[in-house]
Symmetry: C2
Subunit: 325 residues, 2 copies
């Protein structure tokens, strides 16, 4: 049905299947710089086998170090791990993880671990799409576990991590009330709570507050466990991995597992449709009476944005068949 | 051209023009809960007069207290202020600003100040749209200054604050390297830098680092000044207001002013088009061979998401006239 992939694409697909780090990196870069339907069509049949885990929380919660430690535990258990960091404050992105690089040097040279940060700037709706693509690429490359790290503040990032099968929310004691206010929003997406930097003052209080919140929340089949960690020393990290694994088992024993797959497919399709919609608007922007003309009229206030959008939309989007008849 | 507004809408429009706090709040709530074209059409002719300022930065930077202090300065200078907080970690949203409420009680009862926080959860593309609507409503209500507070982490929030004429980026010393990594991303959107909590250790270093970054950046007509503040004591806040005012003057003396208006109109129209697109997808999702069927096929992996999205998109979006011919 689709045109045969370009030679570059075939080479990338093969390289991904062979788990060649260079090809995987190139494939993710390609996905990052634009829509790559042929590549994704090529690898898609081999996806759906990895366990996709999400790690989110406020900046400064130590998510990246925890991700590395979690990866180490999986490695010791004989599993391969891909890490995708979608977090402008991530040291993977920002480049400030030097201490960890020294302390955990071996993980960076282990072929059973692949670490990749996603460019979060200027992605304009494409970030969610590119992240899903990166997860698929690592999945098709045969990594047993794919770990998605996002900063749990923006709606985008929350949407992204929600597509994981199991989400761990990482908090730390003493980040201040205004940061902890974020808790309310991420409570509903947490399958596991991690109180990181648990050797700090206030760890008991943070854990107790979380437990209280869970007591007050409507009861669900799965009650998110609260795990304390000191990530740089690896303390508690085994327990995090175990908690995520038992959530996975609970998921597959209930309808929730199917619902999450559907949710992931749904947000995937939405992201792709959105991106196409943007491209269409852009490509047709200069048309007479098109987007750019509308921008000008709205600027001059000779037309309100709602009327302009209604007019533009009518030209862009088809009426449903039933209304056309 | 458009149907006459429902009585409720007319009442809201009148109430907004009369700057009745209750009507303004109702109008913003209406915009928050959905697309309100008639309301916005009604008020649009009176918009475009307010000065729209943005305040952004990481959680814990003290943006809300600074916003209140900035509002106080404007009040002392005889100007009215509307504040829109788009920040899940904002005390306006999270409700933890008790100390400020006590310290600055009068600002909450001053009819020349209107404070509103936006619901950031589940807005799904609608948040940018609703925020622009709120800004317009406050503008039409005759507030001289509209201050938009967002948390500068997610792409959504950055996109929102970019629509302001002048953006102040608020940082604090000692938030840790991983948080400061955000700086790289927000450097380009800052017209004014605020080093808040400047009485803390490390303030000099933070200011010096910012100055160095600015030295390294490609030179622009406007070099963002770096202002130190201790917001709870009001220190440096006059200087922030002055810096924003001189940026405003520089803006209007250069083509950049017009470019920013166009940018705002553009992101406005985009947000409206996106929201409509979502509604269309949702309303047509159950159609045979529609979105829901595609979700199922992608879940079963009988179709890859790219092919499914291409098919759905073709059904949704019209070909441009030139290609139809």
């Amino acid at each position: 049905m689709s045109p045969s992939p370009a030679p570059g694409t075939a080479m990338l697909v093969e390289g991904v299947f062979a788990r060649e780090a260079r090809r995987i990196a190139q494939a993710i870069s390609a996905a990052e710089s634009g829509n790559v339907p042929d590549l994704l069509r090529g690898i898609y049949p081999r996806t759906g086998r990895a366990r996709v885990l999400g790690l989110t929380g406020p900046p400064g919660a130590g998510k990246s170090t925890l991700a590395l430690r979690v990866a180490q535990v999986f490695r010791r258990r004989g599993q391969t791990v891909g890490i995708v960091a979608v977090d402008p404050s991530s040291p993977f992105t920002g480049g400030a993880i030097l201490g960890d690089r020294i302390r955990m040097g071996e993980i960076y040279t282990d072929p059973g671990v692949f670490i990749r940060s996603m460019a979060t700037r200027g992605a304009m709706g494409g970030l969610a799409r590119a992240t899903s693509d990166a997860v698929d690429i690592l999945d098709a490359a045969g990594f047993d576990v794919v770990l998605v790290e996002t900063v749990g503040v923006g709606q985008d990032e929350v949407d992204i991590v929600k597509t994981a099968e199991t989400v761990a929310v990482v908090l730390v004691p003493g980040l201040g009330d205004d940061i902890q206010a974020i808790k309310a929003g991420i409570l509903e997406i947490a399958d596991v709570f991690v109180v990181n930097k648990a050797d700090r003052e206030g760890a008991d209080r943070t854990a107790a507050e979380l437990a209280m919140m869970l007591d007050l929340a409507p009861s669900r089949t799965w009650r998110p466990p609260i795990v304390r960690t000191v990530a740089p020393r690896g303390e508690g990290v085994e327990a995090v991995v175990d908690a995520m694994a038992s959530h996975g088992r609970s998921l597959h024993a209930s309808p929730e597992g199917g619902l999450r797959s559907a949710r992931r497919a749904r947000s995937r399709l939405l992201a792709l449709l959105e991106e196409r919609f943007h491209r269409t608007i852009e490509s047709r922007a200069p048309e007479p009476d098109g987007f750019e003309d509308a921008v000008e009229r709205v600027c001059r206030r000779s037309e309100d944005p709602y009327s302009a959008a209604a007019r533009l939309f009518e030209r862009l989007v088809r009426e449903p068949a039933v209304e056309r008849a």
